[in-house]
Structure formats: structure tokens, C-alpha cells
Symmetry: C2
Subunit: 566 residues, 2 copies
């Protein structure tokens, strides 16, 4: 708002508008791009080292939330910065007692103690209290003991802020983050300290807007709302329940049936639907805070000792735990289930949050079974499949509403591992679609049929193992293959099928549809699909171009997006 | 040694022998597999939660080194464990003041303060000292003040161990880790505490063997040595300088020429060759400790402000910073150079340390230029290429000696980005090799030539962008393609070429040689190459089989490894 973007603020998170996260290319006030938590101290320390090394003299300030502070890399950075007493660096800890969800962990409890107890007051009070109970004193503290009191205070002061003080920081605070003059004074004092300083600022999330203060979780990423009532503007069209909600509800049922099932998330309870489990069966729910690496290895430990952990983390955040997936789950073949929410196009959050890499990074992790449901009913069956599988398993679900198919309340049958299904048959073309692209594949096949092109559509279900027994004969017979995935094409699902065909000496013309090697900017999901050429109309067009079939006979010729005109 | 493996200890880290790291499938005493640092608290906490949830009563103990404690996920786990006062968990901090290299960071300084100052002594001493200087006291402390002293001690005690105490742990220590009876007593006391306990144990790395105590870095992973002299047994055959050493020496030269170049590692100074820079130009060297995530984002911050960071981390450890590579370097297009050491087969360290995933995981990261040199001379040129490139760049080098080619002392010319080279020409077969496989490709081509098969060999140099202008016409003309890479085949280099050919409608028989979807056990590198069918003899055989050429006419028919007989 104060960096020249006020005028465009009404375009926030809309296609072509202002981004929701810091973006270097958007403003020179955005010194470092952001999206995932816990990075600011590392980046600011890098800048401070560069400044000193080049003999420059500007100030480097990192702002970090109390939720973000629990992320391991923030603590790595504190450990490094605290070791550089001659490198001035100001870290502002914005302590609003919230991440996306209320924060968890010992650090949060610790900060709460500090928030509630202004340091000087608490300590002098405590010392005075102790002295009152000394046998030879009692009552008022005699003036002669003032220096003793001071001496004791000096000894005891590090107790408040001790964690940061012991790690080499000068700790200042807590101060009121809504008192501008107090903040100005404190920051000025902080900049006079030569080395790393932590200023602990206490704020209220949503300050000044009562509805936001009252519902801090709900307003973390509130959609458009009525300013007077604070209520979200109702969606014009009713939508089926989201994948996340169906997952959360189904997991509750499975937890009820089996007390060894346990849901784990990393500060994403609401987003993943795990808040439903949290409310229903808190004993079978764990939120570790912003700590994806720990979440994964914790689940590995649980699986060793007979629990069945289900780890629900967004696709984009699970990138943080890539090594732990390999080492602590994959290599050890531990039966842990991963549910990757927001896998694919995420819309308004933009490039940092697109779930576009998980298909390709999961392909090489040893021993994993990897799948994606075509709809929310298949999600239920896949969840049961993962839980019954004696090994690492992962499934990905997209952001947003399901397909609106009927759901079962119980009695879900597991799917046979590695088996896809044929949804419709045709001799001109084989479309193999993965997960959320299956419904789009069917829509594309309908459009093709209207032009006289008959396609077989396969729901692959499994990325790993791929259903070669189903797909290879179809590919050989039909001779033309299209793959569809909501993820990066480089090393993705289509690549997996191409590799498999090539390894079996099946050299066929193949078109891979998915996310090319580019960032996907913030927009509505539908706008993103259009920009990527992934609407059914566009995919029909691209298929016709690739196989040199006559374009649409229906008269509508959707434009090929510019990114494809290479 | 005490878990039933003493008898096999002479087979340590040898093919078919005892592994160098914890391995669940090797012994039921190995409760959790390990390889990368900082995981033990997470895994043990998961086990402790499982224990309590299932109403069982065994004890859970995590052992963690002081070096490993700086890894972010260890701190994430402490934050979680400290929040569970009713979940008994013992964390043994093995503080030997060493990781692979001497540890760095504020936490290490903090531990050192604790090591040097047994808590009670230090504090009572300090309190007594303060009191002596009070005006109305002086000299001996009057007996009436004994309770005051006690009260002050209670206030001040948390100062030692404060970081852990404030985070919810009961802190005990430091104790002598070489005094068995003191350890037994302390551990028994620790198990009586209801919640999380941290026992701080001080040990000496290499204790009892003077040569190991004297050279703790050198003995971290010592090869076979003479027990009496402590000297490594000299290698029978002289070897060319390692890739790591050539990298380190070249970086020193580049740092001398440009004071904005800065080398960064994460506790791998010796392994990466960065110790050469550390000694030569300490001002242009940073070791952040075991903190790969922070290392990457720190480099991003430096690049924003005009430094040219070169981050040297093993391929396997860089997995820890996958998300930071995407967000803090790739998406932001920051000019940071990554040198991935130990990329490919690592030998005795086994599955947890194989550098087999980096080719596939780097392929999808936006904006990166990715390359691998065919020999140590090309490494020098690629390092210059990366540094001159205005964007993210990564190069991978294998473990061990270079090819023994002549090296230049200065004046390295950068390579044109995205350009490979043709090394020899033939019309029967096109071999496209990446990095360390180029020399093996040439050896394979020699063997093929001896059987009358003429191969063109291309040194791809770049994974991204791929030299389609060079490779496609050759592939089209020759019609048969083999790819060779020292990395996972799933989504790897061969897959990249296959995708590129398919996208350009070139459907050709193609054989991808590399690491299939399996773990590579500990062995000598040569044994691993044989187990994977990647010796030139085996590759020749596999090529002949794939293209149905008559096998070797020379009379030697190397056996196809069993893993390929599927």
C-alpha cells in the first residue's frame, strides 16, 4: 500500500494485477521474492554480508512472523547471524500469535510468555517478591539493597529473550506493533547496535477490522467480502464440496474405524481439510506448525512403531521436505500416506504456490506408489488404497471443488495398485489422463467426437507404477497418443509414459499436454488453464494440429495461446 | 560393534558387507535409517507418540551431534517435542565440537560456553562474586544470605541450558561422555523425568586413538590406514587430482580476480574442495554449518546485492534445499552458481548418499541453466561459464579423480550456453553422453568400433538447455540413439532428450543408460557401475542387444548384470 501500488490495489491477485506476494520484478521495494515462510532472515543476512563485503552502508531488515520462526531454515539463519557480531542486521519478529492456523510448539509458548510479561517489570517484580520473603527482610525493600536488586536483574535479564540472547542476538521487546512512535524509537535504537538485533513486536492480525480480528484463521486468505457485515460474498453458482473437504471427512471415518490412523499437517489444518479431523478426533490429529521436514520424518518414526500416518501438506510446501521423502520414507519403505493438496493450478497465489513440480519430483523417489484421483469418489478409494498399502504412498488432489459425483459414506474398496481404467473407446486417438485432467480429457474427447474423431480415454490413476499392461496394447493398436496432466511437463506424467513406451520399443507420435517450462502467474484457475492452452477447446485444437487433422468442423476456432506460437 | 555386527566389521562399507549408516533392514537395533544429519529427534518423537498412543511403555532415545543440531529440522523437532510435556523423550546431545568440519554458528558458541562452564559452579560463583562487591557486604557472604543466594540461583539457573529449558526441555549436563557410570546415572535420572529431556554429553571425536584425536577432520571418513603410524595406506596407483580439488583451486583463482565472488558451503569444506579457498582467501569463504536451506537462500540474498556466490554442496545434501532452489533462486532468476559434488555414484556411503536424483529434480526448476563437464578441464570452463551467466546455474561433478587431462592455470574461456560438441563420428549409432559418462561413452564407442559398429559420440554438456540444434539432425540422420548419464533414468537426461525428440516428431529407437529405479548399495564405485551394467563392456553388450546387432566379435562376452535380466 505504501510502495506505489495503492492505485492498483483493486487488482490484487487478479490476472495482470498486483501480486499477493513479494515479487522483485513488480517493485524495487520488493527486495526479495517470497511465498513460503521462514526465508527472510537468510535473504537479509546474505544482503548484509554483501553490503559489508562491498563497503556499503545501508541497513538490512528482515521481518518474520512468529509462525514462520518455527520453520527450520529460520533457525538455521538465526544460528548463522548470531555468530556474526560485526554484521549489523535487524530482525523484526512480528508476533501476532498466528500462522495460517494458530501456531504450535514450544517456541510459540515461549513467545507467549514473553508477550504477557514485559521483561523489566516481570523481573524486578519477581526479584522484589523473592526478597520480601527473606527472613531478615520482609516488607519494603530497604534502599541499601537497590544495587543488589540491579545486580540480580542483570543476572536474570537474559531469561527474557534468553533463546535469542544466547544465540548471539541483542533482544529488544516486546513492544506494541501498533504504536508507530514506539516502533520508530526502538528501531532507531536497534540500528545503533553493531550486530544482530531481534526486535519483538506484538501485533494483532486483522487489527482495526473487528470481523478480521474475531476470525483470524478465516481472514488469512479471505475471498471478496462485504465490508459492513464482514461476510464473504456468496458464490453465485453452488459448488460441489472441495477435494479437501471430502478428504477431511473421509479421514475422520477412517480414523474412527482404526485408532492407529493419525492425521498430520504443518500449519495447514483448514486448507487441507484436516481441521475436520482436528475437531472430530483431536487425539488422532497432529499439527507440527510450519515444519514440513519434521512432519515427514515424524511420520516415518510413527510408521516404524505401528501407526498409520496420513500427512496432508500442499504440493508446493512439500517441496520443503523432498530429502526427507527420499531418506526417511522412500529408502526405508515406510508405510506413510501423503496427501498433496493444491496439486496443480492454484489461481490467485501465483508462481510460488503452483503445485506444478510434485509429479516430476515424486517420480524418482524410491519405493513410492504415486497416484491421483479423477474425482472425489476416487479420492476416497485412493485414500483407503494408500492406507492398506504396505509401503510409501502419495496421492495428489487439486485445489477447489470436486466433480460433484456421488460419494459413499463408508465401505470404500481399495483400488488394485497400478491399474488404470478405460473410460471410453475410439480408434483414432489414445488419451491418457492423470488425476484432475481426466474430466477435461473426457470433455476434449466429446469435442473431438463432434468433429468425427473417436478417442479412447484412459484414466491412468497411477503415475507409479504405470499401468503398462493396459496402456501399451492400446497405444500400439491406436498409434497416436496424447497425455494430459496438471503439472510440469519436464519429467512429468507424459514423460513417464513416453519413457515407458520407448523402453518397450514403441515409437509413436505423442503429444504431451501440461505445464510447459514456465512460471504460471496469478490469475483465476480458469484464466491459467486458458493461458496454458489446457481448456478442452484448446486441447482439441492442439491435438488436431499435432496430428494434422482438419480443425474443428463446428465453426468455432479457439485461439491458440501466444505461449504456444513458437 | 555391540549390536551383533562385530564379526562382520571387517566388511564395513564394502560390497555385501556391513553398511556405514543405520539401516533398518540390516539390524533390528537400527530403529531408523540414517544418512543425512538432523533427523533423529523427529523420528524418535514420532516413535514416542506412537508408543503413547498405543499404550506401550518402552523408552525413546534420540542421539544427535552438535553439528547436526544446527540443521533446521532438528530445531523444528525440538520446538514440537518441547510442546509435549507429557511425552517422555530423551535427546542425547553428543557434543564433540565437530560435524564433518568444525561446527560454526551461534549454537556452537553457546554449547562451547556450556562445555567450558559446569552450570552450578559457574552460577553460584557468579552470584557470590556479585554479592562480594555490594557496598554493605564485601568479604564473606553472611550466613543469613544463604537463602537469598539460593533464590538468586533459582532465578539464574535457566541461563545455562536456557535455550533448551525455554523450549520446554529439561536440560541436564554437561556430562563427560567417556565416563560410563556418570552417563548411566544421568540417563536413569533423565528417564524419570516425565517429558522431553536433553542430556548434554561432551565427547572427544576419535577418543583413545591419538592420531584420530589429532586430526578429527581427516579421520571423519578415513580410508584404510596403518594402525601404528595413523597414516592412510598409500593408493597403489597414482591418481589425477580430484574434481573437487580442481574446483577448489580454480575458484581461488577466480576469487583472486574478482572480489565479489564468494564460496559458500554447508559443513562440507574438505569434501567440496572449498577448504582450499578457506585457507587462501578466508574473507571470500562462508561455511554456514549443516544448514543447506539457509545456504541457498543466503546466496540468493547475496546475489541480489551484487555478490557472485558459488554454493558447493554434495548432490545428495542439496536435496534438503529443493524448495529454496525453486523459490529463492529459480523463480527470482538470481545469478547464483551451484556446484554439486559427489553427483552420481559415491561408493562406500551407499543409498543415502548416491547423487542420483539431481539431474531429474533440476530439470523442472525454472530459469536454471544446468550442465556437467566431461573432465576437469571442462569443469574449469563451466565454472567460468556459470559465473559469467546472468541467471541461476548449476553444474555437477562426480566423486573422485578427474580424467587426468591437462589443466590451464588461467584464461579459461566460457562455453556458449546450450552448446554440446561432437567428439567422434560414425553412421551406425548416436551416443549422447552427459558429464562423467562422456569418457565411458568414448570407451564404449571404441569397443563398438572393434566390432565394426561406428558411433557418433556427442558430449551434451548442457542438460538445460539441451543442444537440440546439434543433436536432432544427428539423431534424424543416424536413426538410433543411446543416452548415458550417471543418475536416475526417471525424468533424467535421457528422458529429457527423449521428450525433446518426441516433441519434434522424431520417433526413434532409443536406449537410455543410467541408474534404473532402484537403490544403489554401498560398494566400490567400480562395483556399483558393474552392478548397474554401466561399464563400457556392459554398455556395448546392452547396445548390441537393444539394436539386435551381433554381440562382440572379440570373443569376450561380458555378463549382463542380473538386475537387467528381467
Amino acid at each position: 500500500m505504501i510502495t506505489g501500488r495503492y492505485g492498483d490495489f483493486h487488482t490484487l491477485r487478479q490476472q495482470g494485477g498486483v501480486a499477493g506476494y513479494l515479487k522483485r520484478c513488480e517493485s524495487h521495494f520488493d527486495h526479495f521474492g517470497a511465498g513460503h515462510a521462514s526465508t527472510s532472515i537468510s535473504a537479509a543476512l546474505g544482503m548484509a554480508i554483501a553490503r559489508d563485503r562491498r563497503g556499503e552502508s545501508y541497513k538490512c531488515v528482515a521481518v518474520i512472523g512468529d509462525g514462520a520462526l518455527t520453520g527450520g531454515m529460520a533457525l538455521e539463519a538465526i544460528n548463522h547471524a548470531g555468530h556474526l557480531p560485526n554484521t549489523p542486521l535487524l530482525v523484526v519478529l512480528n508476533d501476532n500469535d498466528m500462522s495460517i492456523s494458530p501456531p504450535v510448539g514450544a517456541l510459540s509458548t515461549y513467545l507467549n510468555r514473553m508477550r504477557l510479561s514485559p521483561p523489566m517489570q516481570f523481573l524486578s517484580g519477581s526479584v522484589e517478591e523473592s526478597m520480601k520473603h527473606l527472613p531478615f527482610m520482609g516488607g519494603e525493600l530497604p534502599p541499601e539493597l537497590n544495587r543488589l536488586k540491579e545486580s540480580m536483574r542483570r543476572l536474570a535479564v537474559p531469561k527474557v529473550g534468553a533463546v535469542f540472547e544466547e544465540l548471539g542476538f541483542t533482544y529488544m521487546g516486546p513492544i506494541d506493533g501498533h504504536d508507530i512512535s514506539e516502533m520508530t524509537r526502538t528501531f532507531q535504537a536497534a540500528h545503533r547496535v553493531g550486530g544482530p538485533v531481534m526486535v519483538h513486536v506484538v501485533t494483532t492480525k486483522g487489527k482495526g477490522y473487528p470481523y478480521a480480528e474475531a476470525d483470524q484463521v478465516g481472514y488469512h486468505a479471505q475471498s471478496a467480502f462485504d465490508l459492513d457485515t464482514g461476510k464473504a460474498r456468496p458464490s453465485k453458482t453452488p459448488k460441489p464440496p472441495s477435494y479437501s473437504k471430502v478428504f477431511g471427512q473421509t479421514l475422520v471415518k477412517l480414523c474412527e474405524q482404526d485408532s492407529t490412523v493419525i492425521g498430520i499437517t504443518a500449519a495447514m489444518a483448514t486448507g487441507t481439510g484436516l481441521d475436520i479431523l482436528q475437531k472430530a478426533i483431536p487425539a488422532q490429529y497432529v499439527d507440527v506448525g510450519i515444519a514440513e521436514q519434521h512432519a515427514v520424518t515424524l511420520a516415518g518414526g510413527m510408521a516404524c512403531q505401528g501407526l498409520k500416518p496420513v500427512v496432508a501438506i500442499y504440493s508446493t510446501f512439500l517441496q520443503r521436505a523432498f530429502d526427507q521423502l527420499i531418506h526417511d520414507i522412500g529408502i526405508q519403505k515406510l508405510p506413510v500416506t501423503f496427501v498433496l493438496d493444491r496439486a496443480g493450478i492454484v489461481g490467485a497465489d501465483g508462481p510460488t504456490h503452483q503445485g506444478q513440480y510434485d509429479i516430476s519430483y515424486f517420480r524418482a523417489i524410491p519405493n513410492f506408489t504415486v497416484m491421483a484421483p479423477r474425482d472425489e469418489a476416487e479420492l476416497q478409494r485412493m485414500l483407503v488404497t494408500c492406507l492398506q498399502h504396505d509401503g510409501p504412498a502419495a496421492l495428489r488432489i487439486p485445489r477447489g471443488p470436486g466433480e460433484g459425483v456421488p460419494l459413499m459414506e463408508e465401505g470404500w474398496e481399495p483400488l488394485p495398485i497400478g491399474c488404470g481404467e478405460t473410460l471410453c473407446s475410439g480408434d483414432d486417438l489414445l488419451i491418457v489422463a492423470y488425476g484432475s485432467m481426466v474430466s477435461r480429457a473426457l470433455a476434449t474427447a466429446d469435442l473431438l467426437r463432434a468433429s468425427g474423431i473417436e478417442a479412447t480415454v484412459v484414466n491412468a490413476r497411477f503415475l507409479r507404477p504405470l499401468d503398462e499392461a493396459l496402456i501399451h496394447p492400446l497405444a500400439r493398436r491406436i498409434g497416436k497418443v496424447v497425455t494430459m496432466e496438471e503439472g510440469a511437463l519436464s519429467g512429468g506424467f507424459g514423460a513417464a509414459l513416453l519413457e515407458s513406451l520407448s523402453d518397450h520399443d514403441l515409437m509413436l507420435p505423442l503429444l504431451r499436454l501440461g505445464i510447459p517450462d514456465q512460471l504460471v502467474d496469478h490469475a483465476t484457475p480458469q484464466q491459467s488453464f486458458e493461458a496454458l492452452g489446457l481448456t478442452p477447446e484448446q486441447m482439441k485444437e492442439r491435438i488436431c494440429n499435432r496430428f494434422e487433422w482438419e480443425a474443428s468442423k463446428t465453426g468455432t476456432t479457439p485461439e491458440t495461446p501466444s505461449l504456444l506460437k513458437r
